[in-house]
Symmetry: C2
Subunit: 102 residues, 2 copies
């Protein structure tokens, strides 16, 4: 998955050892798993060469990082005839989320 | 590595099978490897759930994606005492690039 952090999200991630992002659409911290229970325990924080991107290694509770129920958000592969679903679906989002996600 | 694409970079990546990004600092297409020769052959293009992020699976020529000579740009791990270099250095950037990179 890819998500954004602001300084507060980064500080809380480091302090708690749980992944916290910043939702630009909602304009507030997004404590990953706050609704689904599928939290992420941070195993390592890696910083890239120019220091503006972070890679988290996590233990993903619920075995799926994506709100669609797929293990990875990158579950569609482009082909000449359009996207092909190559992902592993772990859960039914309707059973996990009370409200539908976009 | 993480980089940006614009529509032109994406179209050229699909058409040529080589990774092309958009350099926001230089304001132009960045054909990965144009200076170092370390091009990336695109093996797969994956799109995320909300369709605004792309994950490329590539064959990395030169065995290093990072201009510092590390295999990965994410070669520093944060620790309580500061960043630790955990990366694999594949080449000497001074030998590969004529001009120093930031």
């Amino acid at each position: 998955m890819m998500a954004w952090m602001n300084a507060e999200a980064f500080a809380e991630t480091r302090a708690t050892g749980r992944a916290v992002y910043y939702s630009r659409s909602r304009g507030k911290l997004w404590r990953k798993g706050e609704e689904s229970g599928h939290t992420q325990d941070v195993l390592a924080i890696l910083v890239d060469c120019d220091g503006d991107t972070i890679l988290l290694k996590v233990k993903q509770h619920g075995d799926a990082a994506c709100h669609t129920g797929h293990r990875s958000c990158f579950f569609r592969q482009l082909s000449d005839t359009g996207p092909i679903n190559v992902g592993v679906k772990v859960f039914d989002p309707q059973a996990v989320y009370k409200q539908p996600h976009p």
